[in-house]
Subunit: 379 residues, 2 copies
């Protein structure tokens, strides 16, 4: 397998943009990315689009040639990848494989979602499709409810507290306040997080990620650049919570992480910073454990200690995460990688971390049925 | 690139199955396929699912791990590929790349769609998402209308007649009557086709493919088998009809065909039989031209002459095609390949063709925004 590099990145701000279409957002991210790479649409040998459910959110399907055509990419394979909230990560995974294996030299990955034109109830309904429609959403188990059950079990099994969950929210809200492209720039305290509007016990509104519009793009290449993709792995697991023997861990993340660490020749202690899939605060805690950063059950006290703050031992979600940067579903997996590259290039401004040579991203789909783990390294 | 082979195939019957879920159909196709290959779920290194719009048709999204889990495939990448009606072909294309490039040795491709649980109006609405929602479906240009415009232009430009279109329908209805797994087994005459219920001028109901439930699966492998994948290529083009300089040809098919012929070292005259994307009768005529079987504009008289009948020079859609075998959208691209393999193995019974060493499949998405061309060869 050949070495694969990040030739360019581009992101839109995340937020609620009533006047901008899915196409507008994708075009901005791609145009910014191609400019960053100093390349043009005609250099793109294949187009990989991560999108969760454009058809339900926007009535537009067949989105890969739709977006590709809008930026002048035509005649080459243009494909949409869907893996729930890991759609962006999955598109990136397949793109990496294609360059690593020598099929192409230069390919473009884009992730996009336009969610805010739907009502909150309809959004919850569309997102519920990422769980088991027959056994979960049909009986009212939407994603906040599913992850609340996971949190409850983690609390029961390990003594994790609501304060531990709130610590994730406080950190990510603070980080987002330093990110000009974040959806929410509202610094909160532990007390505010705990006193938030209840969503699903033990979650308040501050335990839940945002419903956002946004897009992100990465051009990857076989030609050496500043940041190298040292590893990228995708794995799957059960869709329904009821099919998991232990709901406090996601085997797909563990499997993808094991493959990625082996591929990169690195271990968890070698990682300097990470962007992980904090769709709910509990998901960030579990990611810490599944990725091997901390022993199972110990993530709560560890994160509450400040270990994952920007100035901590292992800064996590310096972008603000899905929690506060925003979570345009299909864009998330690609945006996480853009945010790591910004840190690795030393362009993160007030949220810049000290060490950023080895960085990891984890993108989760559903309640863990898909997980993609990517490791980036400075060349 | 390594040689890639068909290790096994499996298909459900196509039809309207009110008592069977999407999962039931996919599981049957995969189980049949693994049995045909003499392999088990644990041999599958990655899972490629072609599905157009399960979320809208069935409320279930995140379909790749959902289906994979149901047959015991877990811990490996499981991804859904969407490219409108070419979703199955696109999943197959990416699967082939992964084996050809040495990433995996054995991967499973499945295509599935469950459409008949929705009303006809809702189906038309969901399918319209494969066109341009803003400039086509929003002003009433559903797919029958779009392809009717294409047919009208072909008639104007080349003198193609309604009888030429009807000849495609008559042939494919006859072929389907010989296929035990076809949706419709109703032999029709030219007169019946012309006198069918009008849909969109010049189309009657007999010019339009069926709305079906069904699934198909193929196990592909680096280990030599009876049928080899000599080439597989995907290309894209404009989504909206208004963006095409000439609506009587699909540049994506031409681009994919050129790549596929070059990859296989074959020319159109070397092909012994083909399964092409006859979503409407005109699409089969245009496929004949875009694939280089006949000069542009000459497909009508050529097909009407019987050249593409089972006993003709180049048998086309011996399965009955989308027209009469049925068109469960995401399954179609995979089913076409299964049907070719059945012919190549000499297992096609009363519809068996004489020569079946080199076979071609063409799978089209939307009004030509995606096209996948695959060439199979007897090893």
């Amino acid at each position: 397998m050949r070495s694969v590099h990040v030739a360019g990145i581009g992101k839109t701000a995340f937020g609620s943009f009533p006047d901008r279409t899915l196409k507008d957002l994708a075009v901005e991210a791609i145009t910014t990315c191609l400019k960053d790479a100093g390349r043009s649409a005609s250099d793109v040998e294949a187009f990989y689009l991560g999108n969760f459910d454009g058809p339900s959110f926007t009535s537009q399907n067949h989105l890969a040639p739709y977006v590709a055509g809008a930026v002048g990419i035509t005649g080459v394979p243009a494909t949409r990848f869907e893996a729930a909230c890991a759609s962006g990560g999955s598109a990136f995974f397949h793109a990496c494989q294609s360059v690593a294996s020598g099929i192409y030299n230069t390919v473009l990955v884009c992730g996009v979602e336009k969610m805010t034109s739907q009502t909150t109830a309809r959004v919850a309904d569309i997102l519920a499709g990422a769980g088991d429609a027959q056994f979960e959403s049909s009986v009212g188990a939407t994603f906040p409810a599913i992850f609340a059950m996971i949190a409850r079990r983690h609390m029961h099994q390990y003594g994790t507290t609501r304060e531990h969950l709130a610590a994730v929210a406080v950190k990510n809200h603070f980080n987002a306040s330093l990110n000009p492209q974040a959806h929410l720039k509202k610094v909160i305290t532990i007390e505010q997080a705990l006193a938030g509007k209840p969503v699903a016990e033990p979650f308040t509104i501050y335990d839940c990620s945002l419903v956002s519009d946004g897009a992100a793009a990465i051009l990857i290449s076989s030609i050496p650049h500043q940041v190298r993709i040292a590893a990228c792995a995708q794995a799957s697991g059960p869709v329904a919570l009821a099919d998991k023997p232990d709901i406090t861990t996601f085997p797909a993340t563990k499997a993808a992480a094991a493959k990625a660490y082996a591929q990169a020749g690195l271990s968890p202690t070698d990682i300097h910073l990470a962007e992980v899939h904090d769709c709910f605060t509990i998901a960030e805690l579990i990611a810490m454990e599944d990725l091997g950063f901390i022993t199972a059950g110990q993530s709560g006290p560890w994160v509450a200690s400040g270990a994952t703050a920007i100035s901590g031992l292992l800064p996590v979600n310096t972008s603000g995460g899905l929690k506060a940067k925003g979570h345009p579903v299909g864009a998330t997996g690609v945006a996480q990688l853009c945010d790591l590259v910004i840190q690795m290039r030393g362009e993160a401004g007030p949220r810049q971390v000290a060490r950023a040579s080895n960085a990891l991203a984890q993108n989760l789909g559903g309640s863990g049925a898909t997980s993609v783990v990517t490791i980036l390294q400075k060349s």
